[in-house]
Subunit: 199 residues, 2 copies
Amino acid sequence: MPRGKVDVVPDDGLTTRQRRRQAVLAVHTGHGKGKSTAAFGMALRAWSAGWPIGVFQFVKSPKWRVGEESALKALGAAGGASVTWHKMGEGWSWIQRPGTERDHAAEAAEGWAQIKRDLAAQTHTFYVLDEFTYPMRWGWVDVADVVATLADRPGTQHVVITGRDAHPDLVAAADLVTEMTKVKHPMDAGRKGQQGIEW
Amino acid sequence: MPRGKVDVVPDDGLTTRQRRRQAVLAVHTGHGKGKSTAAFGMALRAWSAGWPIGVFQFVKSPKWRVGEESALKALGAAGGASVTWHKMGEGWSWIQRPGTERDHAAEAAEGWAQIKRDLAAQTHTFYVLDEFTYPMRWGWVDVADVVATLADRPGTQHVVITGRDAHPDLVAAADLVTEMTKVKHPMDAGRKGQQGIEW
């Protein structure tokens, strides 16, 4: 589709300029690779636009995405837009009492509570909620609360949510939904993951 | 799939360590968003791994990917791995005679010739051939030559090719193929593309 060409002009009373500034809720789902990777690729554009970036990783292993983390943090340190990176896997940074006995459901709920605070305060302009479909799916966060909070978020805050099996209500609420499908993967042929490619 | 878990162990005489260092040929295809964005997200990991990065954009408009370009160039300037960015849309940088009458087929062939030189010289470790499926599809570059050159590339050079409708021979030759499928797009609802999200 050529850039700037739209199929229908919405009857929403907005000017093109206003429409260009609408907040986007994007979902990258499916069982293929590239869901999170594309979200971090979008963060490159957000950084170039000067937007403060907040990343919330709802993943078990703190090792994941170390390449993206170090690169985006280097960009944040290079000046311009800030990059804030939160990881559930090693206990959220704002929580002072990370226990040895982890309760993932409680941790996920804590993460979502922080996102709500940040959205209310308009702390960031671009949010990556990495692997957030899983706590939604497992009932660790309330789907209706997520959808309502995102629908009502103030200002122009763009949010990208990644993970397999996005909840239908999230898909319905999203502006942009892409499904990544695996056609072929090196591990099918017995290859191992490798640094620089997988993490 | 858990990281490091493989379905089959290949009978290739390689150790796990050697297999972890195999060069990867990845293809991001399909009609959805995120093909190039995920390729540039992979470049974040490549940069973190210290790999020299070469980007070749086979696109008509030099405006595309300006966000990714400025962010990745900022990373290259921040030290560590180099980032080299070539754009067909404004005439390849190594060509001193960009004509006003453009011949896109000849330009695409020039781009591919440079990639061949870089692969032979092992100039980069991570290559993004952005929108390269199109010149392959339109006969501007020879598919058999592309596949053979990539199969025979020396050393450990990772290549990601993006674009719709990847040629079956390219898919067959690739290690990792992901199809991005559009589920929903803002332009369906008459939204305009916007800075920071689309470019």
